[in-house]
Amino acid sequence: MKIVMAIIKPFKLDEVRDALTSVGVHGLTVTEVKGYGRQKGHTEIYRGTEYAVSFLPKLKIEVAVSDPAVDKVIEAITTAAKTGQIGDGKIFVYSIEHAVRIRTGETDDAAL
């Protein structure tokens, strides 16, 4: 099993979730994060003083999937999250050794 972790633009969440559902993913976890990268932040100003806001709001999506599903999940996220503009984000994939569904105790692929 793998976890596909993606950093995306916040307003893309619904599209990404829909894309994932349509390739058979029925669970995922979302975290509000701040991203730093090529996309530049902005400057705020309050009473004449400027404040650099260099971190941008992003969402992190984590999806645990069985190995065969990884490619189509990556594909689904890439397509749905893409705007073509700088800052669209990244996808990282890593292996997990166990998965457990707390409610039932089911493990591994059955737990996803």
Partner: protein
């Protein structure tokens, strides 16, 4: 009763209505998305300042033929400056027009064009209507009285202020168009940012409203406890109706109070408290149904619902005074249904035209909308370069 007491009386009215402007601000803060909260606050304050300035320069002159182009000694005259507090009181009404419109055009309107529109409306359009109704200008009230028996009774401005503001706002919203992503294939409504902030706005409005209504008597000789009690009963009717029809919806109940208060303004001096309760309750229903109609049928993106609230309930209030003010319904009489109907419709049509024209001209000349990118980032960053919670932005 000396002038000092009347100065005091009108001053308290002016302060209370001024406090309502804070209410407009926070009602908008809580209802819009977080990325437009700062803009809501700055708009209300800036609109208020612009309104006072233009009303001082020309508006008051248009409405009442009074100007301040004389020395302080002359304008104070020998009544302890009673006329000046009267100006203060009335300008807080005039400034309510842009505050009403602000809630309709929120989240995508450019800042400077909005200030220009506010200036035009408060300098000229509003004073024209105000002068006609409250100062007898152009003999229209006299004509209504001749024709139907009584002039238009709009004691505290259901028509002059609320219906006018609401219908101008409708014109403005139509010229402006809906927010990005509101309608169309993927369109969807956005939930409000904060119930406590909008509730605070509603409370400030309700509290100040008693000054709006009761102090409209403009002197202690003319003040009437009936106006106070009617305002209370209409507010209560609006709350209860919105509670029931709106199914304990937090937005409806806080707006229901306001709906009742909008509707009672016109006839608060002539209706019976029980009649006022009914008028307020009907206004509560009108707001709930009118808001859904406006949003879902008409697909008019009036963010705070100012057209149903001020436009529809204000018009209802103007007409209702001609019904519940009748002695046969326990009222004090002295009102004619036809004068109320004709006067209200006249005001509504005038307002709608004003809204379409003022915003239409601005649209043609300078454009009304934020760029799509600015609208997406939010007016706070785009216009004021700060968000509502700057410390949290890092």
């Amino acid at each position: 009763m000396g002038n000092g007491a009347n100065v005091f009386f009108l001053l308290m009215g002016a302060i209370l209505v001024f406090a309502m402007h804070g209410g407009f601000a926070f009602l908008e803060v809580g209802t819009v998305r977080q990325k437009n909260q700062v803009n809501a606050l700055v708009k209300i304050l800036a609109d208020f300042a612009v309104s006072v300035t233009v009303y001082f320069l020309v508006g008051y002159l248009i409405a009442y033929g009074i100007d301040f182009y004389a020395s302080a000694a002359d304008i104070v005259s020998d009544d302890q400056g009673l006329g000046l507090v009267k100006f203060f009181f009335l300008v807080t009404f005039a400034a309510a027009i842009p505050a009403i419109i602000s809630g309709g055009v929120a989240e995508r309107m450019r800042f400077v064009p909005q200030l220009v529109a506010s200036a035009a409306i408060v300098a000229v359009a509003y004073p024209l209507l105000e002068g006609v109704v409250w100062n007898g200008n152009f003999g229209i009230q006299a004509w209504l009285a001749d024709t139907f028996g009584n002039p238009l009774n709009d004691f505290a401005g259901s028509v002059v202020v609320h219906a006018f503001g609401g219908w101008v706002a409708l014109g403005a919203v139509l010229q402006l168009g809906p927010r990005l992503g509101r309608y169309g294939a993927d369109g969807r409504a956005t939930p409000p940012s904060s119930i406590p902030w909008l509730a605070l706005g509603s409370w400030l409005l309700c509290i100040g409203w008693f000054g709006f209504n009761v102090m409209s008597a403009q002197s202690l000789e003319a003040v009437s406890g009936l106006v106070a009690m009617n305002s209370l009963m209409a507010m209560v009717g609006g709350i209860l109706a919105a509670l029931v029809v709106g199914k304990a919806d937090a937005g409806y109940i806080h707006n229901g109070a306001l709906a009742g208060l909008v509707a009672v303004c016109a006839g608060s001096n002539v209706m019976h408290p029980a009649g006022s309760f009914v008028v307020g309750a009907i206004a509560g229903v009108i707001f709930v149904k009118g808001f859904e109609f406006c949003q879902n049928r008409l697909k008019v993106d009036d963010v705070l619902g100012v057209w149903p609230l001020h436009g529809l309930c204000g018009a209802w209030g103007g007409i209702a005074a001609g019904i519940f003010g009748l002695t046969s319904l326990g009222g004090l009489g002295g009102v004619s249904f036809m004068s109320q109907l004709v006067g209200t419709l006249g005001g509504v049509v005038f307002a709608f035209v004003v809204g379409l024209v003022v915003y239409g001209v601005l649209k043609a000349v300078v454009g009304l909308r934020l760029s799509p990118e600015d609208e997406r980032r939010g007016a706070d960053l785009a216009v004021h370069r700060i968000s509502a919670s700057p410390e949290a932005d890092r």
